[in-house]
């Protein structure tokens, strides 16, 4: 094959251009730290990255939701603990009332129970971030309202304005977790408060609470304990969900990194190789390109 000057020049430029293109690509990869900067860099990897981004976004949102559910549940548990203590206190008061030595001060004990009642109602109307936690989905109005009764007994009635609906939080792919305890589950609707009111009315009227009252208080206490227990179980499963979400998050990030991030070691190595090629090409070009018979003839012809 005849080789001409223009061929050598165009070959040289074509190859030099290719080498410089590869160097520029490697430089972009190294300086951005990303192997895939636009989908065309690696369409399959880009598809994976977009899908992983969605999964990562969802995972982070689920983690937030779990956090919110946990805060909600811990507020609920605290309130239930408070009610539980109040009921224990009530049991002590009732035992004192049953002890004949204190028979004269039944009215005073009635005042104590009055305090217990208002604290219990206060706890049952606990708010967390603008919502009443024991109202079911009726979160915007206090679920428990005390109204004086025109025709006692009882002297006051309690109304439950909430409902029995659970609020489900999304906590994982296809997973929801009820994060609220309704007044019905925790306090048997109004029965806990009805019992306290009855005991108070009896004490104020100078009557010792009956055995049936004691059973009712014990039952109410059991209901509260059950509700606190199930809230605790939910919290444990939420802890497990957090752990799982965190692990998933790590895995997803690793997967995305494998698709998206530059393998710095190999990219650096490739860059060094390309630089060597470029240097060699330039060196050879500098030697070969100016060469022609003309250079050697100039002395003889002149």
């Amino acid at each position: 094959m005849r080789i001409t000057q223009t061929q050598i020049v165009s070959d040289f430029l074509y190859n030099l251009n290719n080498t410089q293109n590869r160097i520029s690509q490697l430089q972009t990869q190294l300086s951005t730290g990303q192997r895939v900067n636009v989908p065309s860099d690696d369409p399959e990897a880009a598809d994976m990255i977009l899908r992983l981004n969605v999964s990562i976004g969802r995972n982070e949102q689920f983690t937030q939701n779990v956090g919110a559910a946990q805060s909600m549940l811990s507020t609920t548990t605290n309130a239930l603990d408070g009610v539980q203590q109040l009921l224990s206190q009530l049991q002590v008061v009732m035992a004192e009332a049953g002890d004949g030595a204190h028979a004269t001060s039944l009215g005073t004990l009635g005042d104590t129970v009055d305090g217990i009642l208002s604290q219990a109602v206060g706890l049952a109307n606990t708010e967390f971030e603008g919502k009443y936690v024991f109202g079911g989905t009726q979160t915007q109005a206090p679920p428990y309202v005390l109204t004086p009764n025109a025709a006692p007994p009882p002297s006051e009635t309690v109304t439950y304005n909430g409902n029995g609906a659970g609020i489900d939080y999304p906590v994982g792919e296809g997973l929801t977790q009820q994060a609220n305890v309704t007044g019905q589950a925790a306090f048997g609707g109004t029965s806990l408060f009805d019992t306290i009111i009855r005991v108070r009315d009896e004490l104020k009227a100078g009557t010792v609470p009956t055995a049936a009252d004691q059973t009712a208080v014990q039952n109410a206490l059991n209901t509260v304990l059950n509700a606190a227990g199930s809230a605790g179980t939910i919290q444990q499963s939420l802890d497990a969900a957090t752990a799982q979400l965190t692990q998933q998050h790590t895995q997803l990030l690793a997967l995305r990194s494998a698709q998206q991030d530059t393998d710095v070691a190999s990219a650096t190595l490739n860059l060094t190789q390309e630089q060597t090629t470029l240097q060699a090409a330039l060196a050879v070009g500098a030697k070969i390109l100016p060469m022609s018979l003309v250079n050697f003839l100039s002395s003889t012809t002149s």
């Binding site: 000057q5 061929q7 065309s40 369409p43 598809d47 976004g57 603008g130 989905t137 915007q140 609906a165």
Partner: protein
């Protein structure tokens, strides 16, 4: 005497021939870097011999003309490769712009904003009464609508700007075809006088190569060496004249016609072919897919939202969340933008219920696209990665064709290119030939002198 005169004549013609050779060589050297120039070779033949009693006697050299070194087959192949390379590279150039309007993969791009949109509904499901959560739904939805608008309007603008490209390319094509017709006429006129206009032929080949980068062409030559250039079956240039191409927008498509009101030209190659493919099919189909995604989102979210309840007494219901029908006009219902309590999170009207918010967040994983086989997000991701594949494949295609073209050009250059080494060698050969012929003449001259001295007193 006649013998010496003959030798003198042979010497004179040899001098002329070597001089002719040197002028062809210097023409080659002068045009060594001229694009499209084909090296020329001076043709020498021995002149008609003289019949003598001792046999045929050579009478020296004749110049037979100048031949252009060119391989027509390589030219045709180069044109074919050039038109598919230009097509791919033009498509690649435009597709890269299309790809960049999507700005993926990035958190701020549509895919990220879509995830944020669904996440904001999940946040709302956790705090359905919270006005901050409602504001964040409004904000992410507005941003989502904005992202759809941005991509849609950028693609529409890009497409509109291609109309100008088409006009420019057609102007270049028409200029080239009329130049080609003129050159062809010049060549056939010279041919009629028995002369080869080598430099005009080089120019014609060069213009044809240039034309093949703009549009798909077929070139044929008749026995007189006159060319006919057709594109998609329509003659666009010949010695008889050029047919100017015209473009017009018909419906939603750009149509190219040969001559005013002439037949439609099927443009499949060259840069014009690339631009037309983008304008007539690729960009509209991308816009269509974007519209599909937006429309599916609007319809499904509205369907769920209208059945849900906002905050208030009585809780408001029946409101559409989005207005609009596609990527260009998707927007948050202005009533909702003005009052976020209209955002329906509740499925039964109680303020703490979150079933509607959960259902809208669940649209993220619902298979709504492609005959209910893909989620909106997957549909969009596929669209983006398919676009990436197209950019990648047109890039590869254009690089491959470029390397084939380079190799063809090298082969052509091997035949047609000027090698300075070769020309210098020829120069020396001709120079030596010239000196030798001069030597012959001076020898004959001294022979004449000898004879003249003999006869002089």
């Amino acid at each position: 005497m006649s013998g010496l005169s003959l030798i003198l004549e042979i010497g004179k013609r040899a001098l002329e021939a070597q001089q002719f050779g040197i002028s062809v060589t210097s023409h080659n050297i002068a045009n060594a870097t001229t694009p499209g120039y084909s090296r020329q070779v001076a043709g020498f033949v021995p002149s008609q011999p003289l019949v003598t009693p001792s046999g045929l006697l050579g009478t020296g050299v004749d110049v037979a003309g100048v031949t252009r070194m060119r391989d027509a087959f390589l030219d045709q192949q180069s044109r074919d490769v050039n038109q598919s390379m230009s097509n791919a590279s033009m498509q690649n150039q435009i597709l890269t712009q299309v790809q960049s309007t999507f700005n993926e993969p990035s958190d701020n791009a549509l895919s990220g904003v879509l995830t944020q949109f669904f996440n904001s509904w999940q946040s709302l499901s956790v705090n359905p009464e919270d006005s901050a959560a409602r504001n964040s739904v409004l904000q992410s939805s507005t941003q989502l609508a904005q992202s759809f608008h941005t991509i849609d309007s950028q693609l529409t603008q890009l497409r509109a700007s291609l109309q100008g490209d088409v006009t420019d390319k057609i102007t270049s094509i028409n200029t080239l075809t009329s130049q080609l017709s003129a050159l062809d006429l010049q060549i056939t006129n010279a041919q009629a006088l028995g002369q080869a206009d080598n430099d005009a032929m080089d120019q014609r080949d060069e213009k044809l190569q240039e034309l093949s980068g703009l549009i798909n062409i077929q070139v044929s030559y008749d026995s007189r060496g006159s060319m006919t250039v057709t594109s998609g079956g329509n003659v666009i240039a010949s010695g008889a004249g050029a047919v100017a191409l015209q473009s017009s927008v018909q419906g939603n498509q750009i149509v190219v016609q040969a001559g005013a009101g002439g037949p439609a030209v099927a443009v499949t190659g060259g840069e014009l072919g690339g631009v037309l493919t983008m304008y007539n099919s690729t960009i509209p189909s991308t816009l269509g897919q974007l519209d599909q995604a937006a429309a599916a989102l609007i319809a499904r979210v509205n369907q769920i939202h209208q059945a849900g309840y906002g905050l208030g007494t009585p809780p408001p219901t029946g409101n559409a969340f989005f207005t609009g029908t596609g990527a260009a006009d998707i927007a948050v219902n202005p009533a909702i933008a003005a009052d976020t309590s209209l955002i329906a999170a509740s499925g039964d009207g109680t303020p703490g219920d979150n079933t509607t918010a959960l259902a809208i967040a669940g649209v993220q994983t619902e298979n709504l696209m492609n005959g209910n086989s893909e989620t909106i997000g997957d549909f969009y991701n596929n669209m983006v990665s398919t676009l990436g594949s197209s950019v990648d494949s047109t890039d590869n295609q254009s690089k491959q064709q470029q390397s084939v073209l380079t190799s063809l050009q090298n082969q052509q250059s091997s035949v047609s290119g000027v090698s300075l080494d070769e020309e210098m060698t020829n120069l020396i050969t001709y120079q030596n030939g010239y000196s030798a012929a001069a030597k012959v003449i001076s020898t004959v001259d001294s022979m004449f002198q000898t004879i003249l001295t003999m006869v002089s007193p």
